[in-house]
Symmetry: C2
Amino acid sequence: MSSDTTKEKIIQAANDVFILKGMDGARMQEIADEAGINKALLHYYFHSKEQLFKEVFYGILSKLIPGLILIFKGEGSLPDKIEAVVAEYDSFMFRNPFLPQFVIREINRDPDQLSGFMSDKGLDFELVEKMINKAVEAGTIRQITFPHLFANLIGMIVMPYIGRPLFQRKLFKNDPVKYDEFLRERRVVITYFIKQAMIC
Amino acid sequence: MSSDTTKEKIIQAANDVFILKGMDGARMQEIADEAGINKALLHYYFHSKEQLFKEVFYGILSKLIPGLILIFKGEGSLPDKIEAVVAEYDSFMFRNPFLPQFVIREINRDPDQLSGFMSDKGLDFELVEKMINKAVEAGTIRQITFPHLFANLIGMIVMPYIGRPLFQRKLFKNDPVKYDEFLRERRVVITYFIKQAMIC
DNA sequence: GTCTATATGCAGATAGAC
DNA sequence: GTCTATCTGCATATAGAC
């Protein structure tokens, strides 16, 4: 039916605009234009900008989280799991290059909501933390606490995306093709880097 | 004279507000309140919000860059230099915890201006790049290209700051004291992590 | 230099016809 | 469900008195 189609068009348009400009930078007018409708109709389907934003934001996140949980609850050694997480994360980022910045903005705008959402989705860091600690005790990996490993891992994955406009200019003569090549190398480089750092 | 004092007060207030809320989120009214004056006077000293923002932003960056250049142009082995850069960067971040997010926002808002500013200040990555490549050829460090090493390094340093609202909740039961302890450990953990990963 | 008052413009949201 | 027209509020910026 046509009502569903319009709603879908709005969600799609909101996705594009929000992800590029963030909640503050996005304009309802632009979303309406992108969807080929007018502002009034936006508010007919979504009472407020805030509501539309949350729908979009948590819609995207919902696609990322299950994959991560699957990896951690599955079988395999810790290094293998780390490798799988890097691969999963990184390929998701490559397909959604503006996601990291998007998430970071929301982390600082409404952390409680985001934190609650992750819990609701069953993303449980304590489980991973125990896994790390056990591996350290067993001597499989070098001494490190989970928060440090987590910060290192996420930082390395995410940095090339949030820094892209500057990095591409400064390190790749502003050549987007070269930068995409660089991004594609990240998965291998990061897993190798981490393994060298962690495995005794 | 009193005009200088007022201008200084404005700059100080703008520092505080911009760094917390970014260019988009900051309000001229709030800056005026913080400085103990009114909006009209803001515009007397700074023609526009944009102008005031740039003054603040590049004022802060100007304090960080010289230290980095000094390290790279100085004597010492590559690992020592990396260790020094991590220390310099990290202590700067600890004193300016909202700087990373601030910079990231600007990277995406006006990358050309930022890129040009860094060049003007003499921050030259080609020099560092050659240093890395030489060390790789000599076999002092493992095979890695400069952009990858750079992304890894900056990512690890910066992540705990831009992710703090979420990380603190999820990994430290929202205890700010524990999180500050964690931040203080970063310098040592990162340099150790990098050395293990890079040195053969 | 500093203020009060006001202009200007824009963005989110609503009213109401069709 | 979809539109045009409009309201409301807020933020930047300016005018003009002191």
